[in-house]
Amino acid sequence: MAVLGLYNYFIFAVLLMIGLYCILARTNIIKSLIGLTIFQGAVFLLYISTDKIDGGTAPIIQEGVENQIFANPLPQVLILTAIVVGISTTALALAVTVRIKEAYGTIEEDKIQEMDREL
Amino acid sequence: MIFSEADTILYALVIPLVGAIAIALAGRWPNVRETVTLTTAVCLAVVVWSLVPSLQAGGRPELQLGEMLPGLRIAFKVEPLGMLFAALASGLWIVNSVYSIGYMRGNNEKNQTRFYICFAIALAAAVGVAFSANLLTLFIFYEVLTISTYPLVAHKGDEATVRSARVYMGILLGTSIGLLLPAMIWTYSIAGTLDFTPGGILEGKIAEPLVGLLLLMFAFGIGKAALMPIHRWLPAAMVAPTPVSALLHAVAVVKAGVFTVTKVFVYIFGIDFLFNQPSHRLIIWFACFTIVVSSFIALRQTNLKRLLAYSTIGQLSYVVLAASVLKPLSEVGASMHMMAHAFGKITLFFAAGAIYVASKKTEITDMRGIGRRMPWTMAAFAVGALSMIGVPPTGGFISKWYILGGAIQDDNYLALATLVASTLLNAAYFLPFIFAAFLYEEDVKPVKPHGEAPWPMVAALTFTALLTFAFFLFHQPIADLEAQILVK
């Protein structure tokens, strides 16, 4: 039973591995960017799995209800910020990808490297 | 004089810099530029020489500029060694300016303005090195001297000069930043200060084996003293025009090197402390090795300027040897030799320059019988050569006499043997050339028949030759001035 408590962290580690592998191993730019979103998604999972408390609910305080255990709001705030940071980075990266496609005609990093090496 | 001594030091530093700016402004009118150079040289000499009387009376003028690092100030203090070097440098600058005007005009070299500007900055650096009160200020001006002489060495600008200027810069910058800087910082971290104090600042603060290491770092850190393994920059600098070689060898660069070595021995380590450290013998071994080997190499040289270069390496090691014998007589001998060598070597270089301007000849082998065509130049050359060998009527004899006396006091037979052997070797590579120049017929016809070199060059030549004689006659006041180093 105790090990199950660590399952979130295990999944966090596996997702990080997949994300990093996708970034490093794949030469296609868009595939690497998707890898990057997975990589960042894993971190969100880490933060949010710290806020869970047994028997707790979402931290919204109704008037009537007394001594209700609430989940920890702080990691949620941090992750709200991190999600928006993630999407902004992806949007910027995709804009750069479109420009790279127009400038180089391909979005395969190895082909681009060859084209640059000829210069 | 009218203004206080501290101001004198300040003016001594500022005059050459102002001169450099004035030369830069007067760049387009050669005559104005030359007169500005001369007037600056004369003013500097007057200002520097005005300090001599107060020095002889035992005064030590001081000047504090500002605090560069906490606990380390940019400060100046004039003491006998510094006075001698500054007087020498400023005096010979006048002569060198006169000579270089003739040389530049004779050879119509290009970008002469840059030449004079760098010359003035180099002199300012030399005076700065002479008057500095602590090792940090000395290091600053030492580096300024290196950088300001680079454009002079790379004057011609063609591929060969640039490559040898690269060697010049590489070795000098490399040794100074590679060895001198860490040695300086190590001394600071041990002694807590870098000020030159009579009797040294390292007394009892450093264990035996490290003293040797620190000593070697200093000796080889000061690249300008041209000890054997790091001497290659001197012959490489021969590509420069002759007035620059004269500056390099006689007036500023090498003098700054040996001056720093002596100052470090006397004021950083302290004579007594260093004397009873067995590891100071290392320096004597290196100096003797350099003297002997450089004289042998000089024997095989055919190019006149390279021959003089290797003879300079030898003579410098005389001073280092004298300084490292650590006896009162030899310390005085070291400073005397600095002076004597300056006069002798500058005459030789002027002569070499004159021969080149007049007959475009550089190799000794085709200079037979040149004495007939250029009697005054060759006469001066002979006097210079005699001074190098140490024959009595010239100044060289005096300084060698003092160094020998010091060596005997310390009954250091190795030093004695080296001195005698090198004197013979000097004679071996100077005298045959002089005889050939005067006695033999001219076998290699010059490009066009020529007489003497232009008059300003000849005038400078003879003046420095006379100086060697004058030094022989009136060396006593200088000796007393230098003796003040030894008193605690």
């Binding site: 990589f39 991190a82 750069v96 790279i100 | 930043i177 590679g178 800087l181 860490p182």
Partner: protein, 497 residues
Amino acid sequence: MTLYDQLPALVVVVLLFTAPITYMLRLHGFPWFSAMAAVVTSFVVACSLAATTIGGETIIYEMGGWPAPYGIVLHIDALSALMAMLITGASSAALIFGAKSLADEVGEETAPAFFAAWLLCTAGLVGMVITGDAFNIFVFMEISSLSTYVLISAGPDRRALISTYRYIVMGTVGATFYLIGVGFLYMVTGTLNTADLAERVGQVEDIRLVLVAAGFVSVGLAIKAAVFPLHSWMPNAYTFAPNAVTVFIAAASTKVSLYVLMRVDYAIFQNSIANHDIQLTFFLVPLGVLALFAGSMLAIYEKNLKRLLAYSSVAQIGYIALGISMTSVAGLTGAIVHMFNHGLIKGGMFMAVACLALRYRTVNVANLAGAGKAMPWTMAAFVVGGLGLIGVPLTPGFISKWYLVLAALDEGWLGALLVAIILISSLLAVIYVWKAIEVAYFGEPRSNAVPVTEEAPLVMLIPTWIVVLAGIWIALDTSVTVGLASIAAKTLLGVEL
């Protein structure tokens, strides 16, 4: 609350306030002007902050009025004030200098977006430097990184795009590593405020998570700071970014990540993890030494002048890393002083290169031959900068080398080795600086190269020479920089002033 108490917030708020305005008003030339005005005001505020903190006291400013561990707190001491001054100074100098070269490289149409991004990059860097909250550092790190990506991608050459892409991937991975580190720290301490973290990290019983957190934070920041093995994004990013942008990011951006590394390592981990200084030494010394040699060797064989300077920046960052790894007051002072000095030297040199690029249209060392005669003032600035890299006295480089060697000497035999390495790499610096100088002064301009005759425009020369002279001034009178740096080192190490 007088204006004087609001200064800590104002240094960032001024920039954030002007950014949307710059983006919205599309009048000709207005974006540059409003950006420059905002950055200069922020520089003035940063200087006054430095004035207050030079006495050694630390300013605490609670954001939103909430007390320390609950709200976000700005924590400004001598080190952050010095860094804020460096960032805003470099930004204003680069902006004033870059007016002409930016107009040439960045079109009129994207100018509002570009200068708004410039403002936000400065705001992000300054925000990172003054904040006292670990997560807030991440947010402002993202602001500065994103705007740096925008600034670099505005470069004229198409390779600017691919180098921006690589910088985005590595920068985001680095920032996410930092985030993971902060997450682990939060899990074991429950707080995000740096001061609060420092106390509570000591009381954590199982040390394993804290060590891994320290590892993640250090690696993340090493990627952002382009420490040697993780620096591959930096040379291309500096080379293909617009010239004025290179001047700014070369002088400021990598140093801020080193600042955060220093603050995290010394403020949080120093007194909590047992033998933290040994771990730090084992982490930074090899990286620093590698950076020194690899950076210098790569610079020697580099043809493109901007990439040559970028590789030399990798080497200089190696110096700073060595300084940080020495965990002694002199070592830290050396590292902090070198951060400031290198910012000045490299800023000046990149300005000179920008002037050359404006006239010669290329920054390839080979065809800059004869620049010494054609553009004497620019080349003189470049030479003085080069001497600064070597560490010749009368240049800022000498002061930082002085402190680094002094600190290394008290480290015993390892220190002596470090001294040798530091000096050998400055000799390598002699080689690559002299290579450029020789070509410029003694090289013969190729026949087909278009002859360049006139000097760089005055509006670019004056800022260059102001930066160069400022460098020489702080080499002579080090009271400000070394004063602030030693106070900062003492506060970081907890030694009383």
